[in-house]
Subunit: 634 residues, 2 copies
């Protein structure tokens, strides 16, 4: 490829701007979410979460590390990767400026950018945890020190700042930091790679913004170096940092979920920019296998608390599902890249599933507390979880205002601020709508014609989506609408009438005229979903889904029977009434204290009564509760 220093037509920025690919992402100025489910969350994100995060980072000294932790200072605070949280917050703020078109939407960003710039060493190196007097030398602990990981987030913050115009000064900081990385670890420099992938994806984005080939080459070099067990042996295996097998020959994602997913994002970006179809196909195949064998119903990834890792194939316990919030964000990043590169609408299905069932679950309504991990089964009422304190340790636990390792907050914040970019793309034929929300789109087709449309829907409460063409320069173009994989029985309504449409990408091509409407009706009947029998942990259970939303049984302060003893009747499908979705269920009450294994078949009979379910993303918002997504059947 030939990198150019900026893609044309950027309006309001966007996180991923590939030089090639089937689909072209639209900028935050080209698509706006105007109402509904995600608009509410974007408002809370901009109005509460960004300030909440800044206040915690200030209070904990993570921001101050850039200003007060001068040479010899013993005062540096936070974990070795706390710089990255500040960078992710800057990135989120930049997208918020892009989203709103209002620099005042992120009042703290200038101060942060200035502090970051001031902390950079003359040689370009920038990390508050290494290299100063009293600290470990630079790059002395690549496996665990997170230095290049932090640099990666700096680069991404700078890219967002540049593309949105919200923090343009950071671009020069990022260039100098990236140059330092390239000088240090380039072909003529030291061998090295970071224990936590992130620099790869960031260097490609910086290359895209700056047109600097060297950054892309360095990303590819880091990628090539991984998978040869050159990092120090990890006690949980080299797979922990994806250093067990080269990306090109791996068959599935493994090890630490976020590391594996970030690395895969970088690999897709490198493949796209270098036209490396073999690499692209390898990552796509690995992700497909991961979706088929290592992914929760919610789209959540990672079942192991111990190392925040993917389990073996089909090891997906609902109890203590890790399903880390950051892995959800990272999986959306990867699915999005694969969607852009391949045009395969299945990846938009994945994005939708994770958005409604991991991202929406992880944030509280006020935008000020979060799940770090997202279990699918809570047996002990949430309020009795071990903490008296506001700030939780590493992983697990209830929604909390902050965590010692607080990556989930700014990660969700940057995703939500930039969410509109995931709704609609352009291809050679026209526009493709991937996600449904009240929105306005105003962009240009590949041939330069300007088109605008509005989307109106009560999705996901209701399955009707109306797209109204509000401007078109004339001539034929295509409007593609995603019929999600669960939407068997969908109906398309156009001027020609109603017709049933299959699952997959539905293309309407014509000479659209302004004012014309296309309406998609997705069936929202609640449905039972059964697991692959190889997923031992949920054998003999069903889940209930409605549209893209996974439901759960929740017992708030004991308002139902003991969910450990729940049995659901599956002879008739779930129903829906003013109380929501209901199943017929009973609560068996086994004996109390005895050896729990024996010859007898457990008795299971008795009358059933309706039990109302709630969306999984709504759980743990009404007081101490127990919860389960997978419901044992009678």
């Amino acid at each position: 490829m030939t990198l150019t220093s900026q893609n044309p037509g950027l309006v309001g920025g966007r996180p991923v701007v590939p030089s090639r690919g089937v689909l072209r992402p639209l900028g935050l100025g080209e698509v706006r979410i105007t109402g509904g489910f995600w608009a509410a969350r974007q408002r809370v994100n901009g109005g509460a979460t960004l300030g909440h995060a800044l206040s915690w980072m200030d209070r904990l000294g993570w921001v101050g590390n850039f200003t007060t932790g001068g040479p010899g200072s013993p005062d540096r605070r936070g974990r070795e990767f706390s710089d990255s949280e500040v960078y992710k917050l800057v990135e989120a703020m930049a997208w918020e400026v892009g989203r709103t078109g209002d620099r005042a939407a992120a009042p703290g960003i200038d101060g942060l950018a200035a502090a970051i710039a001031a902390a950079q060493s003359p040689d370009g190196y920038l990390n508050t945890a290494f290299g100063r007097q009293g600290q470990r030398p630079c790059y002395s602990d690549l496996a665990s020190g997170h230095e290049l990981y932090c640099t990666g987030h700096l680069l991404q913050a700078a890219v967002a700042g540049a593309r949105t115009g919200a923090a343009g000064t950071l671009l020069e900081v990022a260039r100098r930091a990236a140059d330092h990385v390239c000088d240090t670890f380039g072909p003529d420099g030291a061998w090295g790679l970071c224990g936590h992938p992130e620099i790869e994806v960031a260097l490609v984005e910086l290359a895209r913004v700056t047109g600097e080939q060297r950054y892309l080459d360095q990303a590819a070099l880091f990628l090539d170096r991984r998978g040869h067990r050159t990092l120090p042996r990890h006690h949980l295996g080299w797979s922990y940092y994806s250093d067990d097998v080269p990306v090109l020959t791996a068959t599935v994602l493994r090890g630490h979920s976020v590391r594996s997913l970030y690395l895969s994002c970088g690999a897709v970006d490198i493949a796209v920019e270098n036209g490396d179809d073999e690499l692209l196909a390898a990552v796509a195949e690995q992700f497909d296998r991961t979706l088929a064998r290592r992914t929760y119903l919610t789209g959540g990834m990672g079942s192991r608390h111990q190392d925040e890792a993917f389990g073996d194939d089909f090891v997906l316990p609902a109890d203590r599902a890790y399903s880390e919030t950051c892995a959800g964000v990272a999986a959306i990043m990867l699915a999005w890249r694969l969607l852009l590169a391949t045009g395969d609408g299945r990846y938009a299905d994945v994005v939708e599933r994770i958005l409604y069932n991991v991202v929406a679950t992880a944030i509280d309504d006020d935008g000020r507390s979060f799940f770090y991990a997202n279990t699918l089964h809570q047996r002990v009422p949430t309020a009795t979880l071990p903490d008296d304190e506001e700030q939780l340790g590493f992983g697990g636990g209830p929604r909390a205002p902050w965590f010692e390792v607080s990556c989930c907050l700014p990660n969700i914040a940057r995703l939500l601020a930039s969410l509109s970019t995931y709704l609609v793309t352009a291809d050679d034929e026209g526009l493709r709508v991937h996600q449904y929300a009240d929105a306005e789109v105003d962009t240009r087709l590949a041939d330069g014609r300007r088109v605008a449309l509005t989307m109106r829907t009560d999705y996901p409460d209701d399955g009707a989506v109306t797209v109204r063409i509000t401007r078109t320069d004339g001539g034929p173009w295509s409007l593609a609408l995603r019929v999600p994989e669960w939407a068997t029985g969908a109906v398309l309504v156009t001027a020609e009438g109603r017709r049933a449409v299959p699952v997959g990408d539905l293309v309407v091509r014509r000479d659209f005229i302004a004012g014309e409407e296309v309406r998609l009706e997705l069936p929202m009947r609640p449905r039972f979903t059964r697991p692959d029998p190889r997923i031992d942990a949920v054998r003999g259970c069903v889940a209930v889904e409605r549209g893209p939303v996974v439901l759960c049984a929740e017992s708030v302060e004991g308002d139902t029977g003991d969910l450990d003893s729940l049995r659901v009747e599956v002879t008739a499908p779930p129903t829906e009434d003013e109380g929501g979705v209901a199943v017929r269920a009973r609560f068996d009450a086994p004996d109390g204290v005895r050896w729990p294994y024996g010859a007898a078949e457990p008795p299971s009979d008795g009358d059933t009564a309706p039990l109302h379910l709630v969306p999984y993303h709504r759980w743990a918002r009404r007081g101490p509760s127990t919860m389960r997504v997978w419901l044992p059947t009678t």
Copy 2:
């Protein structure tokens, strides 16, 4: 109580010598295992494991820490608790001397005892990781430093050395160390307790050996101090070190399994010595609830890798079951204490279950490699587990010669060397046989009459056990035999004929004469066992047991179908032929790569064929294999 400096009638020592209780344990000189399943393992333990462990501890410098790590030495090696492994090895060696009656059976013990004694500070303090120049000060990290834990193991080694006469010199070392602990942390000393319980149980045993009331009081003081959240907050909760709730008010074992179990052992010992029936009842109730809700079919405890902890009630996944070997040993220690104190034979059932299914599983046949954790489901063939190296890191993994944290080896070694003590006890009426093995018993009844008997059996291959009275001084006494909880249909054969006997403790009381035989026939038909329906992880599965032995399906180098797809027919019970126990099974072959959740019921039909199972304790001995204990049903 009034402690006496030695219980009468000690012959060959034994690990637990309570002053009170329903049952009196016999010494290693009073009961010998002479053949069969456990005799073979005792031979390997004495002939290979003790030397293997000593050689590793030498090579890794853990022994050398006592001799070369003088003041200012930067050479101390191993983790902060490596002293404890040396102590446990000394304890195991001492029991081996007691078992064999041969001081030459543990040739390294004198050198170890001398090195340990020489490392003691003049004030009695003894720990190679703290207090010297260049090290952290003594008792500066009670929560994680394992100092008092190490001291506890020193005390237990000294107790074993004294009771067996194998290392009598250590008793004075232990006294001085215990005095230092009492001086430091006594009623007038510093408040303190150890993050890892162990000192409590050890102080009681030392009190029993020495008659020193102060040690018992100190143990009780440590126990009283626990449960008030005075240790530093642990990021996984105070339950990690059982410091969340006082022992007296807890309802179940929780947190780190080994810590919780060791603490409970100490609590029983304190309760017994102080006549504290409330405390005894509290621990018994907690253990009963733990057995009913937090214990694997194998008797294994602890389902969480992250913190080596008990999970919530009924969270017992077979996949990645932690079931730490040391938790098995510790659970036997606790069950044994409760058996002695209460006489309730259910606790002997527990001991048997853990012996055949955790302890026997954890050791390889040559006594030179071990499982640290004991999964119940291996999906990826064992040989592809991540390690190229001989010494594994912390937890998990295949049987390995050594671990960085190698507590399991000496823990099993000390149990096996002292195993004969767990077979038979004396009560006011006579003798009680708890475990079946070829054995010889020669002891005195409570009233001083001498009795001797031999036990002959091919247990657990065969269920017939013949007890022959070889000596009796005349007059009536009772011989009690345990009919295990699984042994419905057992038959007793005496001179009077055959009669069916119920599950529980069977008492034969009469004027026995020398040469008389009592024969118990336990039914060894293989049987299906079903889990409590609240254990979600194994819903829709059965296990197969035969006698005390849990079986499993194992696929060695793919010699069966894919165990992920196994389905077992349960319409007829398992059968037995020359190939062993068999079930009828088929292997469904679901699709490859697709989203694993959907509306359709998974298809399940096809012919079944016999599938031979193997004892769980035999798995992973024939090459790379996959394995599962819980078998999905058709």
